[in-house]
């Protein structure tokens, strides 16, 4: 693994992880308020 490959992987990994975390956060927060979302974040009601 070259230095560059390593760096790119780290950054992609970081963003992927954080995106997933915030996606989950959004779904959870809207759900507990009784405002469910579809998988594409559109309102389910």
């Amino acid at each position: 693994m070259t230095f560059l490959q390593n760096t790119i992987l780290i950054w992609i990994g970081a963003f992927a992880l954080v995106l997933l975390a915030f996606y989950g956060l959004d779904q959870f927060i809207m759900a507990v308020q009784g405002l469910p979302l579809n998988l594409d974040m559109t309102p389910a009601q």
Binding site: W11, F15, V18, I29, M30
Partner: protein, 640 residues
Amino acid sequence: MYKKKQHIMPKWAGILLLLAIVGFSFSPHLLPIVAAADTAMDAQAIAERIQPVGKVRLLGKPEPVIEEKIPDTLSHENQEQELIPAPKLTRSDYPNIGVSSRSVVWLIAQLHLFFAAFVLAVPLFVLVIELIGFKTGDWRFDDMAHEFMKISLSAYSITALFGGTLAFALFLLYPQFMAYMMRVFNTQTLIYAALFFAESALLYIYYYGWNAMRYGDAKWVHLTIGLLLNVVGTTLLVVANSWASFTMAPSGVNEMGAITGNIWEIMKGPLWNPLNLHRFIANIAFGGAIVGAYAAYKFLSAKTQAEKAHYDWMGYTSNFIAILAFLPLPFAGYWLMAEIYAYSQQMGITAMGGILAWLFVVQAVLIGTILLAGNYYLWSGMSRTQGSERYTWLIKYIAFVLVVGFLIWVTPHTLILSPAEVATLGGSHHHLLGPLGIMPAKNIAVNLMLIFTFLSFQLYRRSDKIITVPWAKAGNALIVAIYVVAIVNVIFAGVYYGYFTNTVYKVGSSVIQVMSTLMVIISCVVIDTFMFKGAKILPSHWGKVSDRSQYALFALPIAFTWLMALMGYVRSSVRTHWHVYTVMKDNSPENYIPAIGHAGNMITIATLLFLVIILFIFWLASLSSTKQAPPVEQTATGGA
């Protein structure tokens, strides 16, 4: 062996005492009053608070079985009371002393609240600083905490002076209103007064006993006294808050103002706790800002480099406290406003959609000032270390976001237009700026401003460190990702749910935004804490900061003070022409909401008076540590 025993005992006695106090205050079994309050507060509709349930019983039928909500000890006296309504006043019932009664009470009340907020706030963060000093063994913290308390002490008596004057003014100028309030709150007012004995005792012991109880177990005793001081102080705050929240959203009384509930029902109205939280946090921010001004003043007048360094550091700490406490304030304010809307749509609309709407634009100006000043101070402070050079390129972007956010926040929605202006504009709202005037845009703006303010903090904290952990690259990538995704999330939630879905989703999306901001703050603090382990610390040149930056530390308390008075104007005005909303009408000569220009002038007078007195207090603090040099003895010279 003997010594060890002695060492453990006081410390553990103190801790056990603390637990006992906390346990007592939470356990319903030990304190029936708390049990009563708990049961009385469960799931009551707002209508029920104001209108009690009567009992209808038919002749010959048995009494229906009804759950006892309140223990007899508290409600039996009410059953025997005659239902006396609130007084109905006419114009001639109001005493006239030749000057505007409203202005007199306004100024005195506002000054009392300024000082009260200050003296309640300082012990809160002093206790934390003292604890930090004790735990880290860095005695500079302890000395700074002691110095903060010195300032607070002089302010304490001035608070009481204004409190007494306020009471006199209220009884003189609004006697029937006060008679009614005394009838409603009854013994609670005496308890409030009595608490001041405890507050004074604890305050004086805490301050004067500082050096006597400095080390070891004695320090734990001292800290406990500080904690008790804060408990009493907070109790005073929530008791006084109940009077204010009662006048806005009365509870425990019926439509006519007759008392129908016990003191807990009267106190625990729908606005009490939102007001408590908001004022508690705001007090801390306010107190931090004031002591920051003290530090800035001393910095600017410092004669030696050591003095400059000491006060520079103090200023930084004060700014840190002020901004840290300031960050959650918008959310506490949002809760307060939401509760006002839930209690009475009319009151809510009066505040934000009606006559007081422009006021919140002024609020935006003030908050913009606070954020810009706080951030500017942090950026200036980066000059204290060399390591900051890596980050200075970010400052212009942070500044850009803050300014744009501020402009969006300031943009009004409803413009009061003449018909000609409506024609020119092409409608009642500007087609481009109109959408910026409503909540989704403002929520985006404020959340981004808070995120970027926190970024300034984080950059400052990193400035003096060279990170040495092996996973630094991954950690930094994570932090950048968190910022980027959070910002995108805030904007997405605001734009999509705010403009393209229905109202319920729009309102719900604001929680996403708040949580995103909180996630940034919490996760970055946690990650940095781990990343800083074993970091190489670069020297910080305390005292090496521009004089200009100290003016930012003055701007902060001025803006805070003025903002606090502005919010007082809102709180009082949302009741429109009522002393106690819906229950006791205001029929005084000044029973109308004053125009915002007049309010601005009154607020300025109060702010300037406060400033002058605060400078006096700073001077007193300096005076108490000044020692005049004894006269030099004249030796006989020459002569005859």
